[in-house]
Symmetry: C2
Subunit: 558 residues, 2 copies
Amino acid sequence: MDKSSVVHFARDQFLYSSSLESITIMIMAKKGDIAKMELLHGDPYDFEGPKWIHENIEMRSTGSDELYDYYRQTIRLPHLRARYAFRLTDHDGKVTYFTEKGFYEELPEVGLLFALPYLHHTEVFSAPEWVKDTVWYQIFPERFANGNKDLDPEGALEWGSAEPTPENFFGGDLEGVIDHLDYLKELGITGIYFTPVFHAFSNHKYDTIDYLEIDPQFGTKETLKKLVEEAHNRGIKVMLDAVFNHSGYHFKPFQDLLQNGKDSKYKDWFHPHSLPLDEQNLNYDTFGYVSSMPKLNTKNPEVKDYLLTVAKYWVEECGIDGWRLDVANEVDFDFWRSFRKTVKNEKEDAYILGEIWHDSMPWLRGDQFDAVMNYPFLTAILEMFREETLEPSRFAEKMTKVYHMYPHTVNKAAFNLVGSHDTPRILTECQGDIAKVKQIYTILLTFTGTPCIYYGDEIALDGDQDPGCRKCMPWNEEEQNRDMFAHVQRLIALRKDNPVLANEGDLLFVHIDPEVVMYKRESDEADAYILINLSDNEKELSSEEWQASELLYADSET
Amino acid sequence: MDKSSVVHFARDQFLYSSSLESITIMIMAKKGDIAKMELLHGDPYDFEGPKWIHENIEMRSTGSDELYDYYRQTIRLPHLRARYAFRLTDHDGKVTYFTEKGFYEELPEVGLLFALPYLHHTEVFSAPEWVKDTVWYQIFPERFANGNKDLDPEGALEWGSAEPTPENFFGGDLEGVIDHLDYLKELGITGIYFTPVFHAFSNHKYDTIDYLEIDPQFGTKETLKKLVEEAHNRGIKVMLDAVFNHSGYHFKPFQDLLQNGKDSKYKDWFHPHSLPLDEQNLNYDTFGYVSSMPKLNTKNPEVKDYLLTVAKYWVEECGIDGWRLDVANEVDFDFWRSFRKTVKNEKEDAYILGEIWHDSMPWLRGDQFDAVMNYPFLTAILEMFREETLEPSRFAEKMTKVYHMYPHTVNKAAFNLVGSHDTPRILTECQGDIAKVKQIYTILLTFTGTPCIYYGDEIALDGDQDPGCRKCMPWNEEEQNRDMFAHVQRLIALRKDNPVLANEGDLLFVHIDPEVVMYKRESDEADAYILINLSDNEKELSSEEWQASELLYADSET
């Protein structure tokens, strides 16, 4: 047994609360190394004389990647506290005990074991209950629908009359969204994620001018209020996008600092290294090296107050259900903790989603975000379908690795996407191969996490890296691929009717053919198998287990 | 190379800020597996065309334990952000790159590397500057000195006239401490850690009755104020002990709840499962299973406010310099975060020390504690000296493991102890072998971390597990081992005169003899070697390196 490959820490993805009275423990060990993995656990204060009272339970194997086997187990804590150790048996039957202090031949005294001193309810990660069943739909408002021509910015082009550029406008607005809520209801989605709608300069609106106003091109607060109401009437939640890491160039405090330098009362709102500001030589912190995106100083109580007011305002005023946070990883933890308290105080079941592209564990400990955008999912999908460099078995390993980087409670709320306003569209990534896109959407909609459909994907819209991926949504049915629409619609309905396909079920990969992605969703109520044939040929696959199942859906193209 | 034994996460002990503009990165790999460990790092946004600009620096080997080699390196971040990967070369010259997403033969695109998105000053762990040079002295007030006979509780015994029991009293008080501040000054200590002084029932005062009053047996607020002033005049800091996890049985809110059950306005101050409280069947949360130690509900804003008022009060009112927090691991993070803000707001350089016996990383991320009590140090010392089961090389491995469980910035503030009111005295652990105790104190006072002397150890007081370890301090010099006093005094002076022996220096173990503990403290200014001969025989040891050094101190007994 390779002891140096056994990895566990009493925190994060390795130890987390799965409910208010139970915890889940995860351990990883070198692939193939362990014959039996057991968990010994008990209350730290439970003794009969000198003997520590504890239980022994086998850990559940929950998957493997290239290097590791993963094991998880959930235990109840009647007194909300635990000490525990692992009992590892190798293939020769040799037993060793793994504790916080290292390896022992016999179980050492309880003080040397791993510890969960007390399970506090304030530390339980819990995304809002509704999130795990939500199917999201991302709208880029300037390109979804033009509902009110009177609001069109000067020089706006006829809808869909030109390719999108970084500068052009087509007049999409909030009324346009209201007009098509029935379309969305028909598709079956239950949550809309809007890229920014606040007053800003560009067509993407990520360069905020005023966080407390709706962009006049999009409508007014009244329009947003109506939109939220109408969406709620249709069982659809609404999430807005906020950029708290940096402001836009035309944000008043930044303009004041640019103009007044040392005399500006806003100098502590940003991170100037010296004054006056020098946009050429960039003597202030920015997003990347972009001089027009000055980094906000979220440690300044005035800035913090202002942004928290914003956070609260839109929940209170317009009843929105969640916040998606742009460049969330570059803002400080302390700010996000206050942000969470402010938002949840206003609406207990509001959803907080951070944009983070790398390992996000530090933001997902229950005190900051409910989820992050699952880019690793997108990457693995692309490697398998676009580049065809990833075999199904390696795809399974990659996803298994990702799902063991976080508590499983986190995975259920993960925001899964296969494209966004920041990436080429999935159809373009697949070089127009609609069959592939249908397969990808089948995975997206039957996977752990909450899926998000990028507007237009459901009718096979294409488009390259932005601005290409931000085309006007075609509303003429003849320009829509209705077959794709039906496919997505059907998958959403299946997910809704079979909670095991959403987040009631665990996900386990099964390997039966090198060209077939197959996984099992399993819950106490039901099991389901998903099979995706990556080859161009028909496959005869047999397995006693799943052959007996009822066929829920099949598509010859996929 | 065993890839599954390479362990790194972009957080905690593996990635931490070592100053406001630099970070330290740590990685561990299977012992003996890696010929060369390099760090590739750069700003995430630095490109020349498609090429990512990065630097390459070799990682410093910082020790080994039984299973792993550890490596650390510190890098400056001009823009406070970094992406990085490791370049590992094995003994056959084979190179592999280790990133957040796994292992690669070539360095993959920057988005797959480990990330530090932005180094926020609010997230920099920084214990107060004075702490790392402090030598602590722990006082159990009821047994240190009786300065005012008028305050003696009823039935108090003559000083030192009897063995300590769980119930007896000898009349120790705060005036007694004031009377002996010059003694402490002569010894050389620079901080006093007091076990609780608030109004309580028992002789140890951990069962608080009133957090806002000094125990009448010990004196008044005026006495404490005077003590702090007199201590400060002598360059001595004062730290008090607080029990915020649970109250004492006689705490008024608990008595109210006991008496009034459902009608008590204090029912949310604790964790009753049902009411009325049932002390026999324990239908409420407690410390361990002790019915007289009811757990406080720190999630209740009233309780939180009350305890934070306490936290602030003693800093503001009496000028204390720090808090030691009893059973700190069983109180929620959110409370400790507020506690830190409250205390630091009152006194920026106050010290916050948590009592935690197990892996304490989650409390040491900069948002909660400045240090925890280093019990693993005590355990390793005892295994080597008392049980003689730990060879110097294994001692080195154990301490190396402990020092890589935390950021090095944390290690420098760790509270090192070789005994306390909760453990047998070190002299008793060593079965009266004063030579061993002198060796142990030599290690304690030349080690990374801040050492604490348990009152009386410096004059070779003995005593078994409590109550035995809580004897009255003998003030008659004939009852004191003055040779031991001189030894400790000399070591403290050496530590003060040679910052490399305190926390200016790194610590590296050197193995030259199986019966000799040897380590090197090294800094830019100076190096120092510490040698401890565990055998009964004289040893001739030679090393070019250290033989050339000046001898600072030698003791034939040690």
